[in-house]
């Protein structure tokens, strides 16, 4: 629910409550005002009648006179107002009247005089109130609606523009964000907070990026030195077998460290979108090349390869495409069993690589995490699929993994630009 709808709904609920309250309050208010008006009229009439009785000794003609009743004495009868319904022959219905009964004297004879004045009919009054109140409330609602629309459009405009900017914002981009200024203090304040926050995030990101780059860069030279020295040690004739084994372990761990460094650097470069080239990559040719590069290992493991490659061209950085496809095919070879099968099928929508292999116990969704290794691969670092995942993220490819017993399938869905003709 957007802001305008929300606000309008609340106003509507408020007005719905206000509506009966207004009617009730108006009803009593109007009744009170009408009654006091009527009472005033009747009191004036009493004065006028008293005056004429005193001066002329007879009742003056009066529109309000209802009845006169002679009484024995004028004690114990105070003037009294009353509401009553009287049947009117001309209207053929009961009509509400306010009556006023007081005592006066006609020719020294005490007399009770009752005056009457017609009142508003309750039904009519309520109906009238209902109609007018409804009309007023309708006008208020209309006003609120249009004012809200106006406010939404004008006052909130910078907010929505900034929102769109923030949605499109990416910390990796170089230029900082410029938010639209607003004359509304709250929005200005929000802008300030967001700008500060973004600057902070940007600074942190930059620091982290630099740290990553520095570490992966600075680590490589010392590693190269360690490795060279270790090779010299391994060539030494003075070490016994036990010592050599230890040195070899140092050598292998150094290699591993260097590879981790390289892979993590690659991931962070992909994240930083440093691969910006959009090459036209012939996927089928690239797959054929990778297969021929691995041909001897494939033959060595006695893996039966079947391919169904239709010509597909995608647009992405060819270095990343090579890494992506090599990782997938390499995995399919590495985790394959002796004499297993490897099936690669490629069409405009998807690339499917399925291979036979051990039954893995790792949950499929965990496979893409960093440092997650397959069950058997001691040598692998568990970074290949994490790298693939990153590559897929930046190009909007989808990578899925399906397992059926011994058969493992990776499915890569890409948006192929057009079919090649090769």
């Amino acid at each position: 629910m957007n802001l305008v709808k929300k606000t309008n709904t609340h106003y509507l609920i408020f007005l719905a409550f206000l509506f009966p309250v207004m009617i009730v309050v108006d009803y009593f208010l109007i009744q009170y005002i009408v009654n006091s008006e009527v009472e005033e009229i009747l009191l004036h009439e009493q004065e006028r009648i008293d005056f004429h009785l005193n001066r002329d000794g007879k009742l003056p003609p009066s529109n309000y006179l209802f009845e006169t009743v002679p009484v024995d004495d004028n004690k114990g009868h105070s003037p009294v107002f009353k509401d009553t319904m009287l049947y009117e022959g001309y209207a053929e219905k009961n009509i509400p009247y306010r009556t006023y009964t007081f005592t006066s004297s006609l020719n020294s004879q005490p007399i009770r005089i009752t005056l009457k004045h017609v009142l508003l009919e309750i039904n009519e009054l309520i109906w009238l109130l209902f109609v007018t109140t409804s009309f007023i409330i309708f006008l208020i609602m209309l006003g609120i609606y249009f004012i809200n629309q106006k406010i939404y459009k004008w006052a909130w405009n910078p907010f929505f523009e900034n929102l769109a900017k923030l949605k499109a914002y990416n910390v990796t981009q170089k230029d900082s964000i410029h938010l639209k200024t607003s004359r509304i203090n709250e929005f200005e304040e929000l802008n300030k907070v967001i700008t500060t926050l973004i600057d902070q995030v940007k600074k942190d990101f930059q620091n982290l990026k630099e740290f990553n780059e520095n570490i992966s860069h600075e680590i490589q030279t010392p590693l190269a030195i360690i490795r060279n020295k270790v090779v010299v040690l391994l060539e030494s004739k003075n070490l016994d077998e036990k010592e050599l084994q230890r040195v070899e372990a140092v050598y292998q761990e150094t290699n591993k460290l260097s590879k981790i460094g390289k892979s993590l650097t690659l991931i962070s470069r992909i994240e930083n979108q440093e691969f910006k080239r959009m090459d036209r990559v012939d996927v089928h040719t690239m797959i054929a090349n990778i297969l021929s590069n691995m041909e001897e290992i494939i033959n060595f493991k006695n893996i039966k390869v079947t391919t169904e490659l239709s010509p597909v061209t995608i647009e992405c950085d060819h270095i990343l495409a090579d890494i992506l496809l090599t990782n997938l095919i390499k995995n399919a070879v590495q985790h394959n069993k002796e004499g297993g099968t490897l099936k690669i099928s490629l069409n405009q929508e998807r690339l499917e690589i399925s291979n036979t292999g051990e039954v893995s116990k790792i949950a499929a969704e965990k496979l893409f995490r960093r440092f997650q290794k397959g069950s058997s691969a001691k040598e692998s670092l568990g970074l290949g699929l994490a790298i693939n995942q990153k590559i897929c993220e930046i190009y909007g490819f989808q990578m899925e993994y399906v397992r059926q017993g011994e058969k493992h399938t990776f499915i890569l869905c890409f948006k192929a630009v057009e079919s090649g003709t090769a």
Binding site: N228, V231, Q252, M294, N327
Partner: protein, 226 residues
């Protein structure tokens, strides 16, 4: 051949110098941009090995100035920073080869020799090791003038061995030489093991000596020395 190594890390510089001198090269070193420019200006070199990040400048500038002054030297970039981009850029401005740090010295040696052969002999020079003769341009190996029937990877292995004779070549270095550093897999070591066994067999069938020594589980050495 005469080689200048430009690298700011003195320890690595000494390792490279030591290794290359053992190969019979004259190797000079320059730990910074200024010294490198001075030496290039005065002495002729066959091969320049250039690190991109130097304390007082950029190695790419050295390459640019070498190319500008038409100095005929092969250039190999060694770099750790931003490998992919540096590689493309470095090769664009005229470097001949690129090695990402950390590299195997044996690999550097192989690259230097290949580059030197390409430049000095148009790649046509044969490489000899006792009764073994390698023709790198036609990918042929002869034992006592009989052609060895080898697969491409077997050729790569024996070529790498002969270029780095008397050196310990670890399995990792061989694997990286054969497949590049994308591919690291357990199978590749088994593959190397099998193919070296094949190589031994094929060479001895033609009456060649077995020069391939296994060094524990670490790797191999191709040598006629004890």
């Amino acid at each position: 051949m005469k080689i200048l190594v430009i690298e700011d890390n003195v320890e690595l510089l000494q390792d490279i110098k030591h290794f290359l001198e053992e190969e019979g090269n004259i190797c000079e070193i320059a730990p910074n941009h200024r010294l490198a420019q001075d030496k290039i200006g005065i002495f002729p070199y066959d091969i320049l090995i250039v690190d991109i990040t130097l304390p007082d400048g950029n190695g790419l500038d050295i390459i640019k100035s070498v190319k500008k002054e038409n100095i005929d030297a092969g250039i190999i970039i060694i770099s750790a920073k931003n490998a992919v981009r540096d590689k493309v850029h470095g090769l664009e401005i005229g470097a001949d080869d690129f090695l990402a740090k950390p590299f195997y010295l044996a690999e550097l040696n192989a690259r230097i020799k290949a580059l030197y052969r390409r430049k000095a002999y148009n790649g046509s020079r044969e490489i000899h090791f006792n009764e073994i003769k390698i023709k790198p341009d036609s990918l042929e190996v002869f034992v006592r003038d009989n052609l060895l029937n080898l697969t491409k990877k077997e050729f790569d292995i024996i070529h790498f061995f002969v270029v780095n004779r008397h050196r310990l070549l670890t399995k990792e270095a061989i694997a990286e030489h054969l497949w590049g550093d994308h591919i690291e897999m357990a199978d590749s070591y088994k593959f190397i093991y099998t193919h070296i066994a094949n190589l031994r067999k094929k060479i001895s069938e033609l009456g060649g000596n077995d020069y391939i020594q296994s060094i524990y589980s670490v790797g191999y050495k191709f040598t006629d020395r004890e």
